[in-house]
């Protein structure tokens, strides 16, 4: 499959190095002015902040991603957990219904940035994100869109006590992450493979990031000024996925940076 190239990457992460004994490295709730955001959950605001960071990385104005030629693919394993819990327990103020749904996170991005093209929402860990990048590549290859955004958000703080009972299922510490990847048609090759494994964990950059792990891996790779083919991989539940990707770097982005 023809590989896309990375036009921009926004990555917000819960901490550069895990502290001794820290269980969850958290991201602060972004301050977003405007009455429209009075009901928005933390995961929604982090998604918007990740897109802002992506536009800054790509040295582009928000108009560059607006319109029906932009696809939006969102992935999370658990970012709805906090709002679901708050809604169930009615604690810490009111979470307004519909803000409990995973679909509202990309919806806030679509509303704020005027993205009205094809969309998809995958629930799962790192393999789901790698699959979303592959789906984005397919949409670009078939001309269904001109650019594709792959958005990931994972937050843990509000459910930290619940995760402690499930430590055998995932790595540690849990690192909150929000990221957005801006992909455009490229000239390299992309291949995706998935297989079954016994155990799943999505560690990257010194902690467990669930669906956000591949975006963190990509951020590290871009930050190292590395060249050549990139291999991203990740596990979740009983699946391991690998994405081999050449031609990752965009002249537009590197020139801008």
């Amino acid at each position: 499959m023809r590989a896309p190239e990375v036009r921009g990457l926004g990555l917000l992460t819960g901490g550069p190095t895990p502290g001794e004994g820290a269980s969850v490295l958290t991201l602060a709730r972004p301050d977003r002015p405007g009455d429209r955001f009075r009901r928005a959950t933390r995961e929604c605001l982090l998604a918007l902040a990740a897109v802002d960071a992506m536009l800054e990385d790509g040295k582009a104005a928000r108009e560059a991603i607006a319109g029906e030629r932009t696809a939006l693919l969102y992935v999370t394993a658990a970012a709805y957990g906090a709002s679901n819990r708050q809604f169930i327990e009615r604690r810490g103020g009111v979470v307004h219904f519909a803000y409990t749904a995973p679909a509202v996170v990309p919806a806030e991005v679509a509303i704020e940035f005027g993205v009205t093209g094809p969309y998809g929402i995958l629930i799962g860990g790192a393999p789901a994100t790698l699959r979303a990048i592959e789906q984005a590549a397919r949409l670009l290859e078939t001309g269904t869109c001109d650019r594709a955004l792959v958005l990931v958000v994972e937050i843990f703080e509000e459910c930290a006590d619940l995760y402690t009972t499930r430590r055998r299922y995932h790595g540690w510490p849990l690192v909150e992450t929000a990221g957005c990847l801006w992909l455009e048609p490229g000239a390299g090759d992309l291949s995706f493979q998935s297989s079954r494994v016994v155990h799943g964990s999505s560690r990257a950059g010194g902690g467990e990031r669930f669906a956000a792990a591949p975006v963190a891996q990509l951020g590290e790779w871009l930050g190292r000024s590395a060249n050549g083919p990139l291999e991203l991989s990740g596990r979740w539940r009983g699946e391991e996925a690998r994405l081999r990707w050449s031609g990752v770097r965009s002249h537009a982005r590197d020139g801008a940076a």
Partner: protein
């Protein structure tokens, strides 16, 4: 432009409030049966509306041993059991590593989260509260060891799942895909819709002048998808195309002109390499909220042009309520059964036409017709719009 690989829907299995297998579901639809009843399983005493399309007892599976005590999972597995019966398979007649599972849901196993946070810390409750847990349980039950994908495009999830399943076949990642959707009624979602005041105290009346909102339902709906060239026996029909588009307008309300749905319909027709004039029948999202039905009608008129007035358009949500993640898959299977059986189910409870909804909505009783190409539309929270193009066998 090359034609995409054709994907067959070989068979389908369902569990719904109006029937717990495909034949019972179809019979109930064409005879105008209603699955709406007082909620008995969920505590609703403090809610404004206390009815829905509740399945009183999931009856198909005799032995639930090894299956988690999670209603969402059990709906999926009951639908899968019907699918296995319809398709006469299980164990799978294929290499298990080449069989994928793709399911759509708006709620996943959130009821397990309600139970866990309510003090029932059963060993699996929190694990099953994650939205992708039921899909993995289904894969285990089927013995499928290929990709397991969960999509959650709100109430368009079932359509997205069928499309993603077709993509897995076209890309060669799987040789067979069990795809569809599910959602269970639970206090979480009933409370939510109660707060939005979008539930009706009256009957669900899609496209009727008096329509006053929706009622929720629960269901599971799964299809067996294979590349058409790999299918040797009978099939239910073909998934010809899919389109999606985001409204980018509001979290809980559709865009007032239905532009997102219009884009999704156009994209689906383009994907199928078909024109509006090819469409013979439309299965509408038709929730019976005042906004949805008017907006959907307008979007159909713009996307299909004069053809919108020439084809029957129905909504089955009057019969079973809005089954959320299962709705689009159920409606897709209804389309294929219509083509196969030569009968289009009526839009239940449509009695007084609305001047703003002026298409042919099949009121009253089932109508003899044998559509070949069918459009099925879906809209969901967050401005998710999906459209499927289906072809009868």
């Amino acid at each position: 432009m090359t034609t995409p690989e054709r994907v067959a829907i070989v068979a389908a299995g369902v569990v719904t409030p109006i029937g717990q297998d495909l034949e019972a579901f179809w019979s109930a639809l064409v005879t105008g049966a209603s699955g709406i009843s007082q909620s008995e399983r969920v505590e609703v005493a403090d809610l404004r509306v206390q009815r829905g399309g509740e399945i009183k007892k999931i009856g198909r599976i005799k032995n639930w041993r090894g299956v988690p005590d999670c209603r969402a999972t059990r709906l999926l597995i009951a639908a899968a059991d019907d699918l296995c019966a319809q398709a006469a398979f299980r164990p799978l007649p294929l290499d298990p590593t080449r069989v994928a599972v793709v399911v759509g849901t708006a709620l996943g196993g959130v009821e397990e989260g309600e139970k866990a946070l309510g003090g029932d810390r059963g060993r699996r409750r929190l694990r099953d509260a994650l939205y992708d847990a039921p899909a993995w349980d289904l894969a285990r039950w089927l013995g499928a060891r290929g990709p397991v994908v969960t999509v959650s495009t709100a109430c368009a999830s079932g359509a997205t799942a069928l499309a993603v399943g077709a993509d897995l076949l076209r890309s060669g990642e799987a040789d067979a895909v069990v795809a569809g959707g599910y959602d269970a009624l639970c206090r979480f979602v009933l409370r939510g819709f109660n707060a939005l005041r979008s539930l009706s105290r009256d009957a669900v009346r899609p496209f009727d002048r008096r329509r006053s909102g929706l009622l929720l339902g629960e269901a599971g709906a799964l299809g067996l998808l294979m590349r058409e060239r790999d299918v040797t026996g009978a099939r239910l029909g073909t998934l010809r195309g899919y389109g999606s588009a985001s409204d980018g307008f509001h979290i809980a309300a559709p865009e007032p002109e239905g532009r997102g749905l219009e884009r999704a319909i156009r994209a689906a027709l383009a994907d199928a390499r078909l024109a509006p004039g090819d469409v013979d029948f439309v299965s509408a999202h038709g929730t019976a909220t005042p906004l949805n039905d008017r907006i959907e009608t307008a979007a159909l008129k713009r996307a299909l042009g004069p053809r919108a007035y020439e084809v029957p358009v129905n909504s089955i949500k009057g019969s079973l309520g809005h089954t959320m993640g299962a709705a689009a898959a159920l409606e897709a299977f209804m389309c294929l059964l219509s083509a196969q059986r030569g009968l289009i189910p009526p839009t239940l409870n449509l009695e007084e036409p609305d001047p703003e909804c002026d298409l042919d909505y099949v009121p009253g009783r089932a109508r003899p017709a044998r559509p070949r190409i069918m459009l099925s539309t879906s809209m969901g929270f967050g401005g998710c719009n999906g459209a499927l193009i289906l072809e009868g066998a």
